[in-house]
């Protein structure tokens, strides 16, 4: 039947020529190709010692940020939890006491803030939803672990280290 697209090609299978039946020229060519790979740079990265460089928009582990005075930015508004398509974020809000003024920026703060790293899909929607610029996915790859409960990261793992104020 006539081909509608005109792309149809009839393949012709010719019997092998003498040189092709000898295998040797083709083998020599193939050997040349493989030996050339001996001198190419290895693609392997020795992982624990060397890490592959991430692209600039890589999304890794979350971190909860502090402001320029070292106070936690998060106000436990819950927008991140709301925007999360995987429902990985939960938090409990609390009211700031007067003596905690140096710890939290606003009157309301997150007493507990948990991200289930097994649920998280690293889409970055929490980062986009946050009105206080408190959460960023700028960390490394989330490390492996043995138990499911250990993948629920609390504030101890998420909050940035306090700023060194003496500087």
């Amino acid at each position: 039947m006539e081909s509608l697209s005109n792309k149809k090609k009839v393949l012709e299978q010719k019997p092998l020529s003498f040189m092709e039946r000898m295998y040797l020229p083709a083998i020599a060519k193939g050997m040349g190709i493989t030996i050339s790979h001996l001198f190419k740079k290895e693609a392997t990265i020795r992982y624990p010692e060397v890490e592959r460089e991430f692209s600039t928009n890589f999304r890794g582990m979350h971190s909860l940020k502090r402001d320029e005075n070292g106070k936690e930015r998060c106000t436990a508004c819950g927008l991140c939890a709301l925007s999360c398509p995987a429902e990985a974020i939960t938090m409990i809000a609390a009211e700031r006491k007067p003596e905690e003024k140096d710890l939290y920026r606003e009157e309301k703060y997150a007493a507990t803030y948990e991200i289930n790293m097994l649920r998280c899909i690293f889409c970055g929607l929490c980062e986009e939803a946050c009105p206080k610029e408190a959460i960023y996915l700028d960390g490394p790859i989330v490390p492996a672990d043995y138990l499911r409960k250990d993948f629920i990261y609390g504030k101890d793992k998420l909050v940035e280290a306090p700023l060194d104020m003496k500087k």
């Binding site: 083998i27 193939g30 050997m31 493989t34 030996i35 290895e42 392997t44 020795r46």
Partner: protein, 345 residues
């Protein structure tokens, strides 16, 4: 027979046995490294510097693994199979001349365990016995895949032995001797047999790829078709024996190729080196050259493995019976005619 002779031979046997085991051990490492570098990878590099302790780790793993013998197998043959394979692989080294005689402590010691006058035939005999290890193991496993693999190995070895034997006849026409030592000594300096018998060498080399069950003729152990081939049911050190036997076979056939065609321990400029180094070190240097050639051949085996895809079974048989055997016969006729003409004039 004096005791010095016995001690001398015993030491030589022990040294050669040790060297062939070490080379087989490090062939596994070299295979993985060569494979890796040919595929732009790094290969094993965790155990020791550059991973050179990897064969030891593999050996320990093999010894520690659970030993499983299938209940339906023939127990005696199942155990005899890997032993026979390793034995046949090892005894091939007995007639290979590793170097010219060395002067040690005022005594000339030949670097060859036994210079029998049928050395080439002995090698052939041992190599053909090697297939019994595979056959017995494959049959005793009582596994259909193992049996198929054993049948393949047997028919492949029988087919390629003929072409191998015919290719060597052309060489024997030239050398007029079956003793490996004399064949090597005739290739003094640059007079390597490969220069006179390039076609014979090519046929011999292709056949030794088939005899050692190496790619592209590794049909007895092709994983995709036969799970593991004849050693599917084997575990622990019995599996280790089979794998080891394969690498020792590779070592022996590399040594035979280097001795028969590539001059063995001969190298250009060896006479001036003999004067310069003296009667102790010059033969040892020749032995080092021989081992260099063997290592080059082992590398070649690995290089080919990562280049050429496996032959289909009918292609294998076609190549053996319709390709190599007529070529080998033609080679004999041409060699014979040329020798007759040279002797006439």
């Amino acid at each position: 027979m004096d005791s010095a002779f016995v001690i001398e031979k015993f030491i030589l046997v022990a040294v050669i046995f040790g060297i062939s085991l070490v080379i087989a051990m490090y062939s596994t490492y070299a295979e993985r490294k060569v494979a890796a570098y040919l595929q732009d990878r790094l290969g094993p590099d965790r155990a020791g510097p550059f991973g050179i302790l990897q064969p030891l780790a593999d050996g320990v793993k093999m010894f520690m693994k659970e030993e499983i013998i299938p209940t339906t197998s023939n127990r005696f043959l199942f155990i005899a199979g890997p032993g026979l394979a390793l034995l046949c692989a090892c005894i091939g080294t007995a007639v290979i001349p590793w170097g010219s005689p060395v002067l040690i402590a005022g005594k000339t010691i030949p670097l060859q365990v036994s210079d029998i006058n049928v050395g080439v035939l002995y090698i052939f005999g041992v190599v053909s016995l090697g297939v019994y290890g595979v056959m017995i193991g494959g049959w005793a496993s009582n596994n259909k895949y193992s049996l198929l693999s054993a049948i393949r190995a047997a028919s492949q070895n029988i087919s390629y032995e003929i072409a191998m034997g015919l290719s060597i006849i052309a060489l024997l026409l030239m050398t007029n001797t079956l003793s490996l030592k004399e064949i090597v000594d005739q290739q003094h300096g640059w007079r390597w047999n490969v220069l006179y018998q390039p076609l014979g060498f090519l046929i011999f080399m292709v056949c030794s790829f088939a005899e050692t069950n190496r790619a592209p003729f590794d049909l007895p152990e092709c994983e995709t078709e036969l799970i593991g081939g004849y050693h599917t049911e084997y575990s622990s050190m019995k599996l280790g024996f089979y794998l080891f036997a394969e690498y020792i076979n590779m070592f022996v056939s590399s040594a035979v190729m280097a001795a028969l065609y590539w001059g063995g321990y001969n190298y250009p400029g060896m006479d001036s080196m003999a004067v310069w180094l003296g009667p102790t070190w010059a033969p040892l240097f020749g032995t080092a050259v021989f081992f260099g050639k063997i290592c080059a051949f082992i590398f070649f085996f690995m290089w080919v493995r990562w280049t050429i895809p496996r032959f289909r079974y009918d292609q294998l048989m076609n190549l053996g019976w319709k390709g190599l055997i007529p070529l080998a016969i033609a080679n004999i006729i041409i060699t014979g005619v040329v020798i007759a003409i040279i002797e006439k004039f």
